[in-house]
Structure formats: structure tokens, C-alpha cells
């Protein structure tokens, strides 16, 4: 640790921490970030740039870092790419690797891109790789992506756990620097619930980098410690360190991500890696401080060129000298303070080259530098930087009064620190749709009108000077507490600090003005955007900053232009002779810094991604090798294979078993709604197309539901349990939407009706027993129900007990056979299934799945809403107009289906299709045409909706919607397939037992 100072800083000099970077072992101290520990070892080179693969070093000291993107590796599944070295806390055994280089950081073959840089200007993708078109996806894009890039995502599933938590508070303070701490202290005094969050491991913000500042008689460090102690002792205050406020969502809903284990040497067994906080705050204080801008000059991206404030932080907070011989380039007074502190840490300050004109600079920083005996050169600029993997010197120039630059002296140095002024961090204010105003004096945008109950404090709104920032924070905290309903007066603070000015002039250094700026003066380090790229974009006609941003990609990297955004605006303003304020801003979007996918997913992954609904027969089916399909969230048994049967064989056997003897089917997934009230029948009259007034108690009827536009929406059997009580069944997938539609009409259209609805889908289990022997099976199980045809005819309903379980026994059939649907309370569903299966043994009962159910219903032409209809079929189109109550004056959809277009000739109608070759099974969805071998585009007149092989009929069957279909009976039409058009005969949709003789027995 050759660059470590002998004393001072907030690192623990007694605790050594060993880590590796690119396979080499290093030593740091507890409290170091990876960046400070590498710098302490003299390592600046930490990455290669995105496009040109230029060697890059650490630039900043916090979340603004654009260059030092690192992959941290714990194990094969825990490889986190694109972390900023400046935010990675080191622990014993940390494995860190650089990115975007091959074979090594020092020797990177990709750097050959730099030689071709004249060919890789802004928009080069769009210009170069235009032809041939088909090469883009196969050749150009994959290669560009491989060469230009960031770290690699791990290939294994994320083994970590992520927590999510909601929180409410009266005052949320974002940022625990001087303004944020003062705001939290003031607000907490009022008794308000306060949450204070900060992205760093330690709270204190800029105070942690102070050397000589005092607050109320305490050193900055002691004041921070005392303040945190006070806040921690207050049970109404929650302190969240390592917590980034990444997004400002409507109504003061702030997204925070708390990093819980990334800094730990060994992972605790029960802690989540990160926690997503969704804070709902009555009032918000944004005390997010600011970010220093680099100066822009040729070679400003070389390793060893840092931000002045970062160099000062490394010296004062981490006890690390960023270099032994430092050239300081000043575009802002803060550079003087950094020079003084770096000098105090033992670095030699080779020169302070001030970009501002002679005589324009005065103030505490200037005075401090002078009295420290540092050499200050005014009206200076940097023309070139020497050194490749590390700075070795800087060529200065002098700007004359005429604006011309003459070559000045060459300064030998191993480090250059620059300050172009500070940009208030207005990201969250802007995300909340607050307005911004340009502050000419500061040279940056500051918050103006707010859109939420929020306020900015301290430097995030341009207030500088330690006393001013503290008191501004205190006022904001008190203001927020008062606005949330608490009596509160702002605390008062008094501080002594150097209080240098933080203003600057965004843009490039003077010699870079003009139509063709010198090469390699970088604006956006992370996306390799230079002043030339910005100039080129404007020469090519891009005026809007939003267009320039997208064309050059400036500000579009993972750092979202934290250090580059305002400089880019300044350059564009200069080049187009506009005021910076008139160039406008691009939109700030969340997240402030990258957030893991894991924390958004939280527990919603794997089995917990989506709920699974299981039927009462589920375990029974699993035990017998049933094959399942997903129907919505339901797991339904598709078929029950016996022995080595494939699906085809199993379905054939199941279909034959039902028609030849008896089968059983789990129909519990049907939607069920109980409709109750003195107007229940009237409600159903208005809602369904059918007439319900004349339905007797303990009778059922097949109902069709349309929307008001006249198209079929759902169907199902409805039972009248009592004068004022109906049991409505819906399709499996339609239960929720039918329920919602009922609520809508009851609550908003027919408020005169006395009717209530309750979802009972989960309350009833249903076993369908179907086939000529169905009555015989049930007869063994019921004692108090007369199953005879006279007592329980088709569509009749009986109530009593089955296998000792209370039941609503409905005689209904979705197979065309004698059939019953046995409803029992859901908790008895599995027992009922077992009882019926046992009772059915002597009749060789066949459990069947959804596939056989589909075939059996299709043999009878029973439709499935959503398969045979698609939201554009009227009841007449679907062949179920017989269900419509003819005498009703109104029902939902009656007027809609009365429109001329819905009654016109030539509408698509549901018909049956029989292939000439009985073995050919049509493809569902296939297009129907009237004549074969038409040239493309041929005229399509419909499509196949259902198609199966019917074992009972010994041939294939299909249903289709065909324009004017019912007028084409017995005609031959065609189904267009890639292998040739298939001739089919138009027939009735009822393929089996058209007289219904099997039903009424």
C-alpha cells in the first residue's frame, strides 16, 4: 500500500483486508472501497472503454463512477458484473475482475478499435452496417455486441434471496450528507416518522471527506457520529445505509434498494441479498448533493486523470494519495481545496492550471492554495496528455486575451485532477416531474416547481457553503414535518469550513471550440463519446438534444450521464450558439443507479411465480400417471394413460369407455357463481339471452351470455335452487370476467334490482359421471335421491346425499350420454372421486381427461366458447340462437345483435366438416377456402375451430366457422394446408346421435 498516508481517514489501519483483482493479490484496509484499495496500491488502470477499448482508470469516488466497472465473483452463480469499484466494499477474499478486455487489461486486442476510430464515429452502426440487410442480425450485431460491451451476466440461476417491504413515513429524507442529516434531525424532533436513506456504507456524505471543517464546535466526523447517535436513539426514525433511492414514483412512492450482504465476507444463512423498499412518504426531502464534472481536453480519459473532489475524498476519507506528482486543472474553485488537501496528504502539486482568465478568480480556495505556496497558472488549458496506461505528463497551453491558444509548458506528473464545477443531483426531483431552471451563476440546472409533496435541500438545489447547507436542510426537514401535520421549528447550525465555490462553466475547454475539435477529448467516458462526435451530430443536422443523445449515445450508458450530461449540453450550446438553458434537458429516468432484476422479482420466482390451482382428483391422477395440461392457473388431467399408451391411444380408449359403459371426469374447474335475491330471476333475464322466469326450482338450463355488442361471451348451465337463488356455472377461464361483468351491471346499470352475487367456484367440487351406466354407478352411492328418469329427467336437479356427503346432483351432459354432474362441498371432492371410482369398478368405469372431454363434446357439436367462438360470433352464428328467450323485450346484447351487419347474409357460421379421407385430422386454425389451388392471396372464408379423431365414429371430425356455412350443407369446400388443399364436406355440427336418444334415457 505504497500510496497510503501515514495517518488519518476513516479506514481501520489495524485491519488488513486481502483481495484479488484480475488474479493478483492486493491488500487494503477495512473501510476501503475497491477503488480506494487499488489506488492505495498504485493501481489506476481498472477497465477498458466500451467502444475503443481505451485503457481507463478510476475517475470518481462514488456512484457517479463511469470507468471502473468491475465484476465481483463469489462463486459460479454469484458473478455480479458492472459494479462500480468506487462502491464495492472490500472484504477478505474478495475476487474482482476487470471487464471488456482480452486477453488482459494491460494488453487488450480490442484496442485495435482505437486505430479505426475515424471509422467509428457517432452513428457508425447506422452508417456502416446497412448492407446487406440480412447480415445485421447474423453477422454485424452479434460481433458488435461481442466486441463492445460490459460485463457478462452469470449463466446460472441466481441462488440469492431478495426481500420486498412496504414502509410508510411522514418524512423521507434521501441523502445523509450535511443537508440530509440536518433535515432528518429537525423533522425527527417534531415526532414525525422519518426514514433517512443513503447509498453509501457510511452516512455523512461530503462530511466524511472533510479535513478541517467544524460544526457547532465539533469536527465534521464527530458531528456526524453524534447526529447519527441521536437519530438512532429515536424509535420513530429508520436509518437505511447502503440504500439507494433509485426511483421516484407517483404520489411520493419512492423505490429504495438496500444492499444487505454484498459487503460481507461470508453470507449469513438467513439474510436476503437485497431488500426493495417501497416507501410511501407524506413529504419528501431530497438532499442528494451534487456530482463534479470533469474538464474536457484531449486525453482526459487516461488512467490517472480523476475528479478533484474524488482525489480529495481518497486523501481525506481513505488516507490514499491518488498520485505522487499531481497536476491540477481548475475550472472551479473546488480544485484549489483539493490541491491543498492533496498537498497535505503528501502529494507534490506540480501546478494548478486554472482554465479561467487572469484576475477572474478569487475566494477562499484561491487564498488557501496561495498561502500553501502552490503554483497557480491562470488562463491555462490542457492540449495533450502523455502516457498510455498511466498519465506521465500534460502539455499546457495559454489562452490569450484574443482567445487564441499558444503552446505552454509541459508538466511531468503521474496524476491529473480536474474540476469543471458541480452539478446538483436533481435526478429524483426530475423523475417526480418537478421542473428545472438553469442557474447562470452556478452553471447548472436546479429544481424549480415541484409536482409532488417534495422539496430539495442543500447543494441538490444549488445551496453551497457548509453552514448554509446545514440550515437549508434543517429548514426543509422542518417544513416537511409541518406539512405532514407536526409542529416543528428548524434547528440552527453554525459551521466553519473553507466553503469554496462550486460554480463552473459546462462544456469543453476553450481550444476545443470550432467546427472540428481535436480528437479524443471525451465527454461521456462510459459510452466513448467525444467532443467530435457531438460536433459531427450537429453538422449532420441533429438539433434537438434528445436526437443528439440518441445519435451519439451520450448519457445512455449505465451511469446515465452523471458526469457527462451537463458538459454535453454545454458543448452543444456552444456549437449552436444557443444559451445552455435553451438547449434543454433530456429526461431523467429511473433507476438512478442500476438495480438487480432479483430485487424486483423478489419472491415471485419458481414455484411462487404464479399460483397453481389443483383439482380434487389431482393427487389421484398423479398417482396413476395422469398427464396434465395448464388451463389458466389450473392443472387439469389431459388423459390417463394405461400401460404404454400414447395420448392418441389413451383418448380413444377413454372416449369409447364413456359411450360403451361409463366414464368419470373432474369438472371442478368450472366457474360457479351464486346469484341471490328477490330479483335474481329478473337479473338473469336481463343478463343472459335465455328466459329464466319459467325455469322451475330444481331445474337447470343451458345459458348463453353475450356482451352488449351482441357477441357470445360465455356459456354454462344455470340451476334454480330456489325462487330467489340460482347456481350459475361459467366456463373455466371465464369465471372471473363473468363475475366482474355481473358486478358491473348490478352496481352501475340496474341499481333497482335486489340481487347479490358470490363466487362459489372454490366452494364446490364437481365430478361428471357420463355414459349409459352412469345411473347404475350413482345408484350404489345415493340413498335419498330418486335417480329414475321420471324423477330426475335431463336437466333435472336433486339434492340429498351421495356417499354420505351432501350434494347438489345435476342431470346434465356434456357428452351426449346419460350424465350427471355431482356437486359436493370442495373439501369432500377427493373422497367423492374415490367413492365414485370404487362404485364404478363393476362397470369398468373410465376416468377421462380434458382431451377426451373435448372429443366427446365435439361429436355432439357442443361448442366451447373461446375455441369455437372468438368474440365475433353472435348466438346465431354459433348455432345456439335457439337459447334466446324470444319474448324478452331486452337482454344484454339483444339490441347489439339486431344490427344489420350482425344479421347480414354471408356471416361466418359454425358448421361441421368431414374430410374425404376419414383418417385425415384437420389442423385447428387452418384456413377454409371455397375452391382449391387458388393463387396467393387466396380468398379465405373461415377457419377450423375444433378437430379431432373420433374413435366412436371411426373417423375424423371437425367444426369450422365458414362464411354462409349453413347454406353450404353437403357441398365440398377446402382446407388450405402447406401440403395441398384438403377437400371437406360441409355437414351438421352434430356427428353422433343427432336425435339425442342416448341423452333421454
Amino acid at each position: 500500500m505504497k500510496a497510503r498516508t501515514t495517518a488519518g481517514g476513516r479506514v481501520d489501519r489495524s485491519k488488513k483486508v486481502r483481495f484479488t483483482f484480475d488474479g493478483r493479490a492486493y491488500e487494503g484496509l477495512a473501510g476501503d472501497t475497491l477503488a480506494s484499495a487499488l489506488l492505495a496500491n498504485g493501481v489506476h488502470l481498472t477497465g477498458r472503454s466500451f467502444k475503443y477499448h481505451r485503457p481507463r482508470g478510476i475517475v470518481g469516488s462514488g456512484s457517479e463512477e463511469p470507468n471502473a466497472l468491475i465484476t465481483v465473483i463469489r462463486d459460479e452463480a454469484r458473478k455480479t458484473p458492472n459494479l462500480r469499484a468506487t462502491q464495492i466494499e472490500i472484504y477478505d477474499g474478495l475476487i474482482a475482475e476487470s471487464q471488456n478486455r482480452w486477453p488482459s487489461l494491460e494488453f487488450d486486442l480490442g484496442a485495435i478499435n482505437s486505430l479505426f476510430s475515424p471509422m467509428l464515429p457517432a452513428g457508425f452502426y447506422n452508417k456502416t452496417f446497412m448492407w446487406p440487410r440480412s447480415w445485421w442480425y447474423k453477422v454485424y450485431e452479434p460481433n458488435i455486441r461481442a466486441a463492445a460491451g460490459l460485463g457478462k451476466a452469470p449463466s446460472l440461476p441466481d441462488p440469492d434471496r431478495y426481500a420486498q417491504q412496504f414502509a410508510h413515513c411522514e418524512v423521507l429524507v434521501v441523502g445523509a450528507g450535511p443537508a440530509g442529516l440536518a433535515a432528518a434531525l429537525s423533522a425527527a424532533n417534531s415526532g414525525a416518522r422519518v426514514v433517512l436513506c443513503d447509498e453509501q456504507a457510511e452516512m455523512g456524505g461530503s462530511l466524511l471527506s472533510e479535513r478541517n471543517a467544524n460544526i457547532d464546535g465539533l469536527s465534521a466526523a464527530d458531528w456526524v457520529a453524534r447526529t447519527l447517535e441521536t437519530l438512532r436513539a429515536n424509535p420513530r426514525v429508520r436509518l437505511l445505509a447502503r440504500t439507494t433511492a433509485f426511483g421516484y414514483f407517483p404520489h411520493n412512492n419512492i423505490g429504495l434498494v438496500e444492499r444487505i450482504t454484498d459487503h460481507l465476507e461470508s453470507l449469513p444463512a438467513h439474510a436476503p441479498r437485497e431488500r426493495l423498499w417501497q416507501v410511501r412518504a407524506t413529504e419528501v426531502v431530497l438532499a442528494t448533493g451534487g456530482i463534479e464534472r470533469p474538464l474536457i481536453f484531449p486525453g482526459n480519459d487516461r488512467p490517472g486523470v480523476l475528479l478533484a473532489s474524488a482525489a480529495r475524498t481518497y486523501a481525506n476519507r481513505y488516507g490514499v494519495r491518488v498520485g505522487e506528482r499531481v497536476a491540477v486543472l481548475a475550472g472551479c474553485d473546488a480544485a484549489f481545496e483539493a490541491a491543498v488537501d492533496l498537498s497535505a496528504a503528501g502529494s507534490t502539486i506540480a501546478i494548478i492550471a486554472d482554465a479561467r482568465p487572469v484576475g477572474s478568480v478569487d475566494g477562499p480556495g484561491f487564498a488557501a492554495a496561495k498561502s500553501a505556496g502552490l503554483r497557480i497558472l491562470p488562463s491555462a488549458t490542457a492540449l495533450a496528455v502523455s502516457g498510455k496506461l498511466r498519465v506521465t505528463g500534460v502539455q499546457l497551453g495559454i489562452v490569450g486575451q484574443d482567445g487564441k491558444v499558444v503552446v505552454g509548458e509541459t508538466i511531468a506528473c503521474d496524476t491529473i485532477v480536474t474540476s469543471g464545477g458541480f452539478t446538483p443531483s436533481v435526478h429524483l426531483h426530475s423523475q417526480s416531474r418537478g421542473k428545472l431552471a438553469y442557474d447562470d451563476q452556478l452553471g447548472a440546472f436546479v429544481p424549480a416547481a415541484t409536482a409532488e409533496r417534495t422539496r430539495s435541500a442543500g447543494f441538490s438545489r444549488g445551496v453551497s457553503g457548509l453552514t448554509a447547507a446545514l440550515n437549508d436542510g434543517a429548514t426543509a426537514g422542518a417544513d416537511a414535518a409541518v406539512a405532514s401535520g407536526h409542529a416543528c421549528t428548524a434547528l440552527q447550525f453554525s459551521a466553519q469550513a473553507l466553503d469554496v465555490g462550486l460554480a463552473g462553466s459546462p462544456g469543453a475547454l476553450p481550444q476545443l471550440a470550432g467546427p472540428i475539435p481535436p480528437a479524443k477529448a471525451f465527454v461521456d467516458f462510459q459510452n466513448d463519446v467525444t467532443t467530435r462526435d457531438l460536433a459531427l451530430a450537429q453538422r449532420e443536422g441533429f438539433q434537438s438534444i434528445e436526437h443528439i443523445k440518441r445519435y451519439t449515445t451520450t448519457g445512455m450508458a449505465t451511469d446515465q450521464g452523471k458526469t457527462s450530461g451537463l458538459n454535453a449540453l454545454g458543448i452543444v450550446a456552444d456549437a449552436s450558439n444557443r444559451r445552455l438553458a435553451d438547449v434543454g434537458l433530456t429526461t431523467y429516468r429511473m433507476p438512478y443507479t442500476p438495480v438487480t432484476f432479483g430485487v424486483f422479482a423478489g419472491p415471485a420466482r419458481g414455484d411462487q411465480f404464479d399460483p397453481v390451482r389443483r383439482t380434487p382428483s389431482h393427487d389421484w391422477a398423479v398417482a396413476r400417471g395422469g398427464v396434465f395440461e395448464d388451463v389458466g392457473n389450473w392443472k387439469r388431467t389431459r388423459y390417463f394413460p394405461v400401460g404404454n399408451e400414447d395420448m392418441h391411444a389413451a383418448v380413444d380408449r377413454e372416449c369409447l369407455g364413456v359411450r360403451n359403459s361409463v366414464g368419470m371426469f373432474d369438472a371442478s374447474t368450472l366457474g360457479k357463481i351464486e346469484v341471490v335475491g328477490k330479483d335474481a330471476a329478473e337479473f338473469l333475464n336481463r343478463f343472459y339471452v335465455n328466459n329464466w322466469s319459467n325455469l322451475g326450482v330444481n331445474r337447470s338450463r343451458y345459458g348463453i351470455l353475450c356482451r352488449d355488442d351482441g357477441f357470445v361471451y360465455d356459456d354454462g348451465v344455470i340451476v334454480r335452487l330456489a325462487e330467489d337463488r340460482f347456481h350459475v356455472t361459467t366456463t373455466t377461464g371465464g369465471a372471473a370476467r363473468v363475475f366482474n361483468m355481473m358486478e358491473d351491471y348490478i352496481q352501475t346499470e340496474w341499481r333497482d334490482l335486489s340481487v347479490w352475487i358470490t363466487s362459489t367456484s372454490e366452494q364446490w367440487s364437481v365430478v361428471a359421471v357420463q355414459g349409459p351406466k352412469a345411473r347404475d354407478v350413482l345408484a350404489k352411492l345415493v340413498t335419498d335421491i330418486d335417480l329414475s328418469a321420471a324423477a330426475l329427467p335431463h336437466m333435472g336437479v336433486a339434492r340429498g346425499h351421495i356417499a354420505g356427503i351432501p350434494t347438489i346432483l345435476m342431470r346434465v351432459s356434456f357428452t351426449g350420454e346419460l350424465g350427471f354432474e355431482v356437486n359436493v362441498p370442495a373439501e369432500y371432492g377427493a373422497d367423492l372421486w374415490e367413492a365414485i371410482y370404487a362404485a364404478g369398478q363393476e362397470f369398468n368405469i373410465t376416468p377421462y381427461g380434458t382431451e377426451a372431454m373435448h372429443v366427446l363434446r365435439a361429436e355432439k357439436g357442443y361448442i366451447i366458447v373461446g375455441q369455437d367462438t372468438d368474440g365475433t360470433l353472435t348466438p346465431d352464428d354459433a348455432g345456439v340462437a335457439w337459447a334466446i328467450g324470444k319474448t324478452k323485450h331486452d337482454f344484454v346484447g339483444k339490441r347489439g345483435m339486431d344490427r344489420a351487419a350482425l344479421k347480414a347474409a354471408g356471416r361466418k357460421q359454425l358448421v361441421g366438416l368431414l374430410t374425404e379421407d376419414p383418417k385425415v385430422v384437420l389442423e385447428e386454425g387452418a384456413q377454409v377456402v371455397l375452391a382449391p389451388n387458388q393463387s396467393i392471396p387466396f380468398e379465405m372464408v373461415g377457419h377450423v375451430t375444433s378437430s379431432y379423431y373420433s374413435a366412436n365414429l371411426g373417423r375424423s371430425i371437425a367444426m369450422a366457422v365458414v362464411a354462409g356455412g349453413r347454406s353450404k350443407m353437403d357441398q365440398t369446400i377446402y382446407v388450405a394446408m402447406p401440403g395441398g388443399d384438403i377437400p371437406v364436406k360441409v355437414v351438421s355440427t352434430v356427428f353422433y346421435d343427432p336425435q339425442g336418444a342416448r341423452l333421454n334415457v
Binding site: 414514483f249 407517483p250 404520489h251 412512492n253 417501497q278 410511501r280 416531474r433 409536482a451 352488449d708 355488442d709 366482474n740 358486478e743 358491473d744 351491471y745 352496481q747 352501475t748 346499470e749 341499481r751 323485450h889 331486452d890 339483444k894 339490441r895 347489439g896 339486431d898 344490427r899 344489420a900
Partner: protein, 95 residues
């Protein structure tokens, strides 16, 4: 995530609610005697204003009730919410 004031339950987070389209589109009292033009209006034609908009919401994962709201589509924020059958004036007095 907005906070929406259910007129029956009070402020609740947005995920509890379902949007229900433009408000005050009444089903005709006697649909059989509506013209095709009136039916077209009822079934299909909806406003999409920039600014204040009366719309339906339902506290679907709460009390289940439908209610109406005035929302500013510029800001996404609600001006007020009200029960079915009511119709408060827009800010500025317009109905």
C-alpha cells in the same frame, strides 16, 4: 404507484384497483328503441382527452365497488373520486 381514494374504503394503493374506462356511459334505458347512431355511441365511441377526464374505477381487490373519478391525464393524478350516481363539477365549475 398511485394512491387512489375509494369513496367507500379510503386511500388504497393502485394495485387494488381496476380501471373501468370512461365514466357516465349509461346503457340506454330502452335499447330496443335506440338508433344505430345512438348504439354506436354507447358501444364504441369514447373520449380520450388531454386533461380532466371522468372515468370509472373499481376497487376490485378491496370492497369490489365501482366508483367514478376525475383524473388529469396530463399529470396522472386524481382530482376527486365519487360514488355511482353522483356527479361533482369539474374544477372551474364545468359539468
Amino acid at each position: 404507484m398511485l394512491v387512489i381514494h375509494c369513496p367507500y374504503c379510503g386511500p388504497r394503493p393502485e394495485p387494488e384497483f381496476a380501471h373501468g374506462g370512461q365514466a357516465h356511459i349509461a346503457r340506454p334505458h330502452d335499447p330496443a328503441n335506440t338508433t344505430d347512431e345512438e348504439l354506436l355511441q354507447f358501444l364504441y365511441l369514447r373520449e380520450n382527452p388531454r386533461g380532466l377526464f371522468r372515468e370509472r374505477w373499481r376497487h376490485a381487490r378491496g370492497c369490489g365497488r365501482f366508483f367514478n373519478a376525475i383524473r388529469d391525464t396530463n399529470t396522472d393524478f386524481f382530482v376527486t373520486t365519487y360514488k355511482v350516481g353522483e356527479r361533482p363539477a369539474l374544477p372551474g365549475g364545468a359539468q
